[in-house]
């Protein structure tokens, strides 16, 4: 049976009709129309679906929507502020860290938490911070460079 819930996504309240078994990923993509969050596996293996829940990076495919009703959700659509790209987004462009880009939004969300918790991470810490996210195009090298670039402006 569908239920109406209120979700705080990127500081905006969304009223959504969801099934109690819906994942946050499905809710975001199919019900809230926010397609920046991607599905790569739907089973906690790839990180394409990473979003922040109360500032912590989670796999939205493994998060039941009912469990985040009273939490703050941040997706890639919420990264820019006042019309400006977040430095992480800009750095991903500048470093050439985007190829097919399918992993990019998830990795940027993982980066957001990483740099919020640890604004000057070592390379090792960066690699660890995104180790829950797979990328098949870049070999991660330019992604690590992008995160270093973003960290320089954090």
């Amino acid at each position: 049976m569908k239920q109406i819930i209120e979700l705080d996504i990127n500081d905006e309240v969304h009223e959504l009709a969801v099934e109690p078994y819906d994942s946050l990923l499905r809710t975001l993509r199919d019900k809230a129309g926010m397609q920046g969050t991607k599905k790569g596996c739907d089973s906690g293996g790839c990180g394409c679906c990473t979003v922040l829940v109360d500032g912590k990076a989670v796999y939205s495919c493994m998060t039941m929507v009912m469990s985040v009703e009273d939490k703050k959700i941040t997706t890639v659509e919420g990264l820019p502020s006042e019309g400006e790209l977040d430095p992480i987004q800009q750095a991903f462009i500048d470093a050439g860290a985007v190829q097919c880009g399918y992993c990019t939004c998830g990795i940027m969300m993982a980066t957001k938490q990483l740099l919020t918790d640890n604004p000057k991470p070592t390379e090792e810490e960066i690699r660890k911070g995104i180790s829950g996210n797979l990328c098949r195009c870049t070999g991660y090298q330019k992604i690590v460079e992008a995160i270093q670039l973003a960290a320089a402006s954090y």
Binding site: K39, Y102, T138, Y140, Q141
Partner: protein
């Protein structure tokens, strides 16, 4: 070269902004109002006859709109591979959307369209299929034996294809040898692991015409194969080019099942139908074919080859699909022609088994060949104490040599020696230790591999489409629109086409847009595959831009009262060559060309000239002139923990001749990403199946491991040798597949150097290392 000069500079990728802000334009995001959702019931058995199918309960479920069973599917057998005609004689036509015989666990049996994914899923559980199980065979060499279960009537002993080539005198060649080396080298199933699933939305018009959006590597291939699968004329299908897709790597180079089934269900219901693979479905829908290579090589004392005999056995699984072409490419470009050997014989077998079907995968038969040949080359050098770099150079082609495969063509740009020497110098190859001599538990080793011959497309291959086309149109605001059917897989085709047009038309890159294209409106383009996009689509797009420029000069000649042949385009201005005062901004010319014939000015109406009128537009459609070979060599340092068997890659140097680099940042990205895939192939990736039930045991990322940022080495160094391909766009040729052809062989040779024992079966897992060391 014009003053804009964007070639060789890393322009900002035009697609990057959209992708970092959410990436609206992936096929996975495409929806239509009222669309239905399709799910597929798949066979649990690897080999069975379907006796009956009862869908009555499923059809009663609320929300189910249509069910599709094998008897409703046109009985058309075809080749699903995009880059060849569906009935290509060099391929095998054994593919059908739904059949009453299943030959692999996971083969589609019934498709359901419902108002939601959940309902479609539920409906599958209500379908009753009665199977009669048939005997199975999973090992290709078993499958070739008399009496083995037969998969396809037309292929006795399950041999789908059996090509061979030969030259010289084998007997004399082996007699001439001072040493003969023999080995068997085996590779596994690996998945491309594109991150965006295969997905499509098919919609039908009232006249039965299909429009389809899909995550795939070839618009025109999908048009052709979909028309065949549906048994309708090609013009009844329109394929919309995805702006970009979430990776392909060869894994989206055939029609597969979802497009055809969704289109049939759309025709049946009159509604759009969307289908999306689960990751598990993706894992059992495409793979690199495993190949077992029997390799025997005769050499003189000094390392000169005298004879080589190769037998390659490829497991294509239940249907031949790509397997019939992979074996050829593996033979020609993976093993036989890269090296110079006077007497050679190669025989290939593409063999049916009850394993999953194969697919395309970056490198297409060459990583398997390179692993075999370069492992053995390393053995030869070790045994005969030869300098491994000089040994390679002794047995490879050189710049200016005739192309070993393509008659009448030359290896015009071919810097193999520089690749090897510069790579060796960068890694410090001359300081490497003798194999297995490192002290301690953790042993370091250095190794390398080179692949001396590859392609920039498919010119010269039988039955393979190769031509490309584009239309370039100038707008009054000084921007250019490019219509091209070339799909960007993520590897940078948008940037490349943008750079080519910007360069040719003296525009800054931000003035060029790659716009909407579909098979109704764009000229044909072969797929984005075979490392061909830069060379073939790049050249055709450049030719289209040249046509556009001619048209611009024609209008400018009228406006400027000059001779078109005397005009040049510089800095966005048209001028008479050598007369800078004559310069007119190109936007003025375009505006005049697009303006009303009689323009009303302050002095009243004034006619312009007829000659200047008309859209400044150019189209080209052409096959590329040649198929120049890139060269790639990779040098690796590893550390092997002899207690745990674990292997860490410490350093990677890749040196390549790719001609003029069009976009350096993207080029490095190809090397780095290619290495991730190659390292996965070498060390961990393996699609595994239960040998009784045929069920996939590694159908998710928890069981199918690919390298994460933690396992990857910190720095993959790219060296691009200064080179210029005379036939290529601005001197460029191809690069992308080579980056994945060499890593496995290079890593295997580095592991050998570290531990002194050779492992000849991929992936080189800790278990295999410990076994090789006698510790297990």
């Amino acid at each position: 070269m014009s003053t804009t000069n964007v070639i060789g500079k890393s322009i900002t990728r035009p697609d990057a902004y959209d992708k970092v802000t959410g990436g609206k334009k992936y096929p996975v995001n495409y929806t239509l109002p009222g669309m239905l959702h399709m799910k597929i019931l798949r066979s649990p058995y690897p080999h069975a006859k379907i006796l009956s199918i009862d869908t009555s309960e499923a059809e009663k479920l609320k929300g189910v709109r249509a069910v599709l069973t094998p008897d409703e599917v046109p009985k058309k057998y075809f080749t699903p591979v995009y880059f060849v005609p569906y009935n290509a004689p060099s391929m095998v036509q054994d593919f059908i959307l739904l059949s009453d015989t299943v030959r692999w666990a996971g083969q589609p049996v019934v498709a359901v369209a419902a108002s939601s994914e959940d309902i479609a899923e539920q409906a599958l559980e209500l379908i009753d299929v009665e199977y009669e199980e048939l005997p199975t065979v999973f090992d290709p060499e078993e499958a070739m034996k008399d009496g083995a279960p037969q998969l396809h009537e037309a292929s006795p002993n399950n041999i789908a294809k059996n090509p061979s080539f030969e030259f010289g005198d084998m007997e004399a060649g082996f007699e001439d040898a001072d040493h003969i080396f023999e080995g068997v080298y085996e590779t596994q199933r690996a998945h491309t692991c594109y991150m965006e699933p295969r997905v499509c939305v098919a919609d039908s018009d009232t006249d039965g015409r299909i429009t389809i959006h899909s995550s795939m590597q070839h618009t025109f291939g999908l048009r052709e194969k979909l028309a065949v699968a549906l048994d309708i004329p090609e013009s009844m299908v329109n394929v919309v080019k995805p702006t970009y897709i979430g990776g392909g790597f060869g894994g989206k180079l055939d029609i597969g099942f979802i497009e055809g089934l969704a289109a049939l269900l759309s025709l049946k219901t009159g509604k759009p139908v969307r289908a999306e693979h689960s990751r598990g479905e993706d894992f059992i829908s495409t793979t690199r074919n495993p190949i077992k290579v029997y390799l025997k090589t005769g050499v003189k004392k000094d390392g000169t080859y005298t004879a080589r005999q190769i037998k390659s056995i490829l497991d294509c699984g239940a249907h031949a699909t790509h397997g019939s072409e992979v074996i050829m490419v593996h033979g020609l470009y993976g093993t036989f022609f890269p090296w110079k050997c006077p007497n050679q014989i190669w025989e290939g077998f593409t063999v049916y088994t009850n394993n999953m079907i194969g697919g395309g995968y970056r490198g297409y038969g060459a990583p398997q060949g390179c692993f075999a040949v370069e492992s053995q080359n390393d053995e030869i050098c070790e045994t005969l104490d030869l300098d491994p770099i000089e040994f390679r150079l002794k047995n490879t082609h050189r710049e200016g040599d005739p192309h070993p495969v393509l008659e009448g063509h030359k290896l015009a740009s071919y810097k193999i020696e520089e690749c090897l020497r510069q790579g060796a110098e960068r890694i410090g190859f001359d300081k490497r230790q003798a194999a297995g001599s490192a002290e301690g538990v953790k042993k370091k080793g250095i190794g390398f591999a080179v692949h001396p011959l590859w392609v920039s497309g498919c010119v010269g291959f039988p039955d393979i489409y190769e031509h490309s086309g584009a239309t370039v149109k100038l707008n009054r605001d000084g921007t250019a629109d490019v219509i091209s059917a070339c799909v960007d897989l993520g590897s940078g085709q948008i940037s490349m086409l943008t750079a080519v047009v910007a360069e040719e038309l003296s525009l800054s890159a931000d003035k060029v847009r790659i716009v909407y294209a579909d098979t109704d409106t764009a000229p044909f383009d072969a797929p984005t595959h075979a490392s061909r996009a830069t060379y073939s689509a790049g050249l055709a797009t450049k030719a289209a831009a040249v046509e556009t420029k001619k048209r611009l000069f024609k209008a400018a000649a009228a406006v400027m009262e000059a001779n078109a042949d005397d005009l040049v385009l510089e800095d966005g201005k048209v001028m008479v060559k050598g007369v800078p005062e004559s310069a007119v901004p190109m936007t003025d010319i375009i505006a005049r060309a697009e303006s009303p014939f009689i323009q009303v000015g302050e002095q009243g109406p004034a006619p312009t000239t007829i000659a200047e009128k008309g859209t400044i537009i150019g189209t080209a459609s052409q096959a590329p002139p040649s198929n120049p070979s890139p060269v790639g060599a990779q040098f690796i340092e590893v550390e092997v923990d002899t207690d745990t068997g674990e292997i860490e890659v410490l350093r990677v140097v890749y040196s390549a001749d790719v001609g003029q680099v069009i976009h350096p940042n993207s080029a490095e990205g190809q090397v780095e990403g290619g290495f991730q895939q190659g390292m996965g192939y070498a060390l961990m990736e393996n699609l595994q199946f239960d040998q009784e039930t045929g069920a996939c045991l590694s159908a998710d990322f928890l069981d199918y491991k690919i390298p994460t940022a933690m396992e990857m080495p910190s720095n993959i160094e790219s060296i691009f040798i200064d080179s210029h391909e005379p036939t290529g766009p601005y001197g460029g040729k191809s690069m992308s597949e080579m980056c994945l052809i060499v890593p496995a062989a290079a890593i295997a040779n580095a592991v050998y150097n570290a531990i002194g024992v050779r492992i000849t079966e991929l992936p080189i897992t800790p278990e295999k290392v410990l076994k090789a060391l006698g510790k297990l």
